[in-house]
């Protein structure tokens, strides 16, 4: 069923942590913007076995450990658009998700009826305030200047950027028009702007 997607982990010994963080970061952004299963499989291949070791130590039980891995990696897939590389590395983001899930799991196991959950304590998986984590282009750079670079963007990102910056639509309107989740519009916008920024920097 998943022929061609190898879980073999090419990062284990070869890459330096920083290179790895950059690579994982780029992969997560692809997952957020394009729902790219291939990119996700690489993130999964790197983190799932490590999370299992962490979870085994924390939970002391293989079944619970695998539940923790599954819940954590499910969040990574479903909420990849909430990852923001400016705020921290992928491993920190994924650790904090796992820590939160473990916190809630332990209270559920102890059958404690406490009305305090990890989302209250560590807002890892909440939108902070709308659009706060957008990448913004430097003011002196106009859309005209980036026009030629704009054409190099993947079609899906181009469509979102066009609708927002040329047609002046809101992100919600774009989401409705393309029938995709708002989070996907946001992450495509962020990814596209980041790419344009990178291209501009290479340009000078």
């Amino acid at each position: 069923m998943l022929v061609g997607i190898s879980l073999e982990n090419k990062f284990t010994n070869t890459s330096k942590p920083k290179d790895c963080a950059e690579e994982m970061s780029a992969l997560l952004m692809e997952v957020a913007a394009e729902r790219c299963k291939r990119s996700y499989a690489k993130v999964f291949g790197y983190f799932a076995p490590r999370l299992r070791s962490y979870a085994l130590k924390q939970m002391g039980n293989e079944a619970l450990a695998m539940e923790l891995v599954q819940d954590t990696m499910t969040n990574v897939w479903q909420k990849a658009h909430l990852f923001n590389s400016e705020k921290g590395s992928p491993s920190t983001w994924i650790f904090t998700i796992a820590r939160n899930i473990r916190f809630d799991m332990l209270r559920k196991l102890q059958n404690r009826k406490e009305d305090i959950c990890s989302d209250d304590l560590w807002p890892v998986l909440c939108e902070q305030t709308p659009d706060q984590n957008e990448v913004s282009l430097d003011q002196q750079v106009t859309l005209q200047q980036v026009g030629q670079l704009f054409n190099k963007l993947p079609d899906k990102q181009k469509a979102v950027i066009e609708a927002i910056y040329i047609d002046g639509k809101s992100q919600q309107e774009v989401a409705d028009q393309l029938t995709i989740p708002l989070g996907t519009v946001k992450s495509r916008t962020r990814l596209a702007l980041q790419r344009l920024k990178d291209m501009l920097e290479d340009h000078d």
């Binding site: 069923m1 998943l2 997607i5 190898s6 879980l7 073999e8 982990n9 284990t12 942590p17 790895c20 729902r35 996700y40 499989a41 999964f44 291949g45 983190f47 799932a48 076995p49 490590r50 999370l51 070791s53 962490y54 695998m66 891995v69 599954q70 990696m73 499910t74 897939w77 479903q78 909420k79 658009h81 909430l82 921290g88 590395s89 491993s91 920190t92 904090t96 796992a98 820590r99 939160n100 473990r102 209270r107 404690r112 009826k113 406490e114 009305d115 305090i116 209250d120 304590l121 560590w122 807002p123 998986l125 909440c126 939108e127 902070q128 709308p130 989740p181 708002l182 989070g183 996907t184």
Partner: protein, 220 residues
Amino acid sequence: MINYHPTDKQLRQFAEGNISSALALVAAAHCDVCSKCQAKVDDVNLELASDIENIKAHTFSDPAFDKMLASITQLPVLDAPVQKSPRIELDGRFFDVPRPLQRFVKKTGNWSKLLGKVWQAPVDLGEAGMAHFIYMEKGGRVPEHTHRGTEFTLVVNGEFSDGLADYDSGDLIVMDDEHIHSPHSNADDGCLVFSIVDKPLHFTSGIARLLNPFSHLFFK
């Protein structure tokens, strides 16, 4: 200015998630307004995350992981709820509260007069502890008391003193049976605090001692 912070040990336990819910809540609320402590928590997160990265993971493929991967990638994307910022209202005055406490604003009951110029509103935390927002008007005072358990107080807005020290917005105060104090505010705008106790208070002076048999009624 914030002078009373969680200890480094408490911040580490908070980052690890190995902490009681009650302390975690006030620590989270403190970190929301104290960038110094938030930076310490971020450092511990970084350290714990690199521990995970440094784990020597198996490189062979595992059928359980193949199955998990396949089932996860069939799931839809989820939009996170955008957090609103509800505020505490008392007598037409509105108070902003730290983000971790915001969900509890709508779980806050009605304000009632505790004593003199002290008002309180209960907050439902389930079994995590007995919590209240407490507001001391200028000149308001909670009778001297000690604690049968532990009392966590976060100063939400304003200043107060308790005979042991002076506190300001953002301060986190942990009291137990070794402390006797009598919180009071002389600030013009009074003081709003959020407090959690795991056991009822024990009043120590004067006529307030008569409250002891009923203290579970006041602080529950």
